[in-house]
């Protein structure tokens, strides 16, 4: 490979590829490095890809990209041991253009997306690890790879190397993540006949459904489970803060089995066969954990910058938009031939103004709050289930008696006040 590029992007996930695509399209000479055998071979996602942010890069991508199903229903199950209170929104407007979101399998999607960047003129080099940034006079001027004579230079380097961004850490942009800043997610892909999926999830042919699982799905530890429909597979997974697994001494794959065998979930999976098992970290530190994202000759995008909204399970969209904003900044920097931190700081400002940092700010204390006060998952979700059971069980007791019983179930006056305070505090961290 030639030794000097305009830009080197490390990592061909949604953030890096979005950045490389936009740069190549603008005629920037860009090298896209990927450590896997192919883009997507190291990448894991529950599976929801958001249409808007992808279309900001490739209009009408859904006409040719390898997608699984457009989602027409999003369900939320608040689970107890053998019951669940379920909320759902189903809207057929999501089943037609312009669509809201799609399930995808990342190994397929990321390959396709990276090929599109190559079509625009990006040079994709796989099976190459970027070992460290080459820094000269405090400025990043390239990366050292694990190929023989593997030093490559560029005006600017984009770190899209994911949640384990060893490169951003090497530059001192952040310390090592704490176990309560990352969630460990495990997932299985289960093969199931297309028609069975559609019948079981009440879907028209081709449509999809997502179900988020809270409460007993994670045995009361802070986290969520999920069950998503793909074309002829289901993705079932569970993610909890690493600190939660450590505290409760739970094996993640046993938690996954627990969810799969939960009486509320098992019927959905009946007759399916596991075809792949995957584990990955999700950066869930939120706004407070965002690292430094700009330096002289360097930008950080996507998971590497902790750009994940755990409450709304959004991440791939933030990755793509951050990649695109980084590209816009680099294109501008190139016209001035100035890749200093102060010039590249436009990227940080754009990020701050965008939905990305706005949403991270909105929920900046949410994860920490629910982590610090486990009663929401441990106590209130079961309480809600019992209340629903009392109210909807017809057993000769009057509705007033039932309401009194539910009221008593809330506990002593002190506990009721605590509940009221907790509801208010939850509103405070989510509003």
């Amino acid at each position: 490979m030639p030794e000097k590029f305009d830009c080197i992007v490390v990592g061909a996930g949604p953030a890096g590829t979005a950045c490389a695509y936009e740069l190549a399209k603008a005629g920037v000479n860009v090298l896209l490095l990927e450590r896997g055998e192919y883009p997507g071979s190291k990448n894991v996602m529950g599976g929801v890809l958001y249409r808007k942010m992808m279309e900001d890069i490739i209009p009408e991508f859904y006409k040719e990209a390898p997608l699984e199903r457009p989602i027409v229903e999003q369900r939320f199950m608040l689970m107890d041991k053998e019951s669940a209170v379920t909320f759902s929104y189903k809207g057929l407007e999501w089943g037609r253009e312009p669509y809201n979101n799609f399930t995808v399998l990342r190994a397929k999607f990321d390959q396709w997306f990276a090929e599109k960047a190559v079509e625009q003129g990006a040079l994709l080099v796989c099976e190459t690890v970027a070992l460290e940034c080459i820094v000269e006079n405090g400025r990043v001027v390239g990366v050292r790879t694990d190929r023989p004579d593997g030093e490559v230079y560029a005006d600017v380097v984009v770190l899209a190397d994911g949640v384990n961004s060893l490169l951003a850490k090497q530059l001192g942009f952040h310390r090592e993540w704490r176990p309560d800043e990352v969630a460990l997610a495990t997932m299985e892909i289960l093969k199931l006949d297309k028609k069975v999926i559609e019948e079981r999830f009440n879907l028209e042919p081709g449509q999809g459904c997502t179900i988020e699982l809270l409460g007993d799905a994670t045995k009361g530890i802070l986290g969520t489970g999920f069950l998503y429909t793909n074309k002829d597979t289901l993705s079932i997974g569970v993610g909890t803060l690493l600190s939660g697994l450590i505290k409760h001494k739970i094996k993640p794959y046993e938690l996954l089995e627990y969810v799969k065998n939960h009486p509320m979930i098992r019927p959905y999976l009946q007759g399916s066969e596991p075809v792949e098992y995957l584990a990955h970290l999700i950066p869930e530190g939120g706004y407070h954990s965002m690292p430094k994202v700009v330096g002289d000759g360097v930008l950080v995008v996507g998971d590497a910058a902790q750009l994940v909204n755990a409450i709304h399970r959004e991440g791939s969209n933030m990755a793509m938009t951050s990649g695109r904003l980084a590209a816009e900044t680099i294109i501008m920097a190139k016209t001035y031939n100035d890749f200093s931190e102060s010039m590249l700081d436009h990227y940080r400002l754009k990020l701050m103004e965008s939905f990305i940092v706005q949403d991270l700010k909105k929920y900046k204390d949410a994860t920490h709050h629910f982590d610090a006060f486990p009663q929401y998952f441990e106590r209130y979700i079961p309480l809600l289930n019992r209340a629903a059971s009392h109210m909807f069980t017809v057993d000769g007791a009057s509705k007033w008696e039932k309401q009194r019983k539910i009221w008593r179930d809330l506990g002593s006056m002190k506990e009721k006040l605590k509940l009221a305070r907790d509801v208010f505090k939850a509103w405070e961290v989510m509003k």
């Binding site: 397929k108 993540w177 495990t186 794959y253």
Partner: protein, 95 residues
């Protein structure tokens, strides 16, 4: 799918292109022996890469998902964690 699957069965579903040398290194086995009664990495590692063998930690790096949990979760920062050489390690085919 009526029976539950073990971690060995799960790992059997995954394609690995293992390198000949490990990208994971326990820096000091004595720390695991003397300071870490829980051997917590043997619990939270999603691929059961870490197995305690009485006096030292066995590291089955060949089955690693490269998630990074051990680097972050080891209470003694006793694990040196690198990416496997380019093209090596786990190869996800789907998700």
């Amino acid at each position: 799918m009526s029976h539950s699957s073990t971690i060995e069965e799960k790992q059997y579903l995954v394609r690995f292109n293992a390198d000949t040398k490990s990208h994971l290194h326990v820096l000091d086995h004595d720390i695991c022996l003397t300071k870490c009664p829980d051997k917590i990495c043997t619990i939270f590692c999603p691929a059961a890469v870490y197995k305690w063998e009485g006096t030292r930690m066995h590291v089955g790096y060949e089955g690693c998902h490269e998630c990074g949990s051990c680097r972050i979760g080891c209470p003694y920062e006793n694990i040196r964690w690198e990416y496997p050489r380019g093209g090596h390690g786990i190869v996800f085919r789907l998700g």
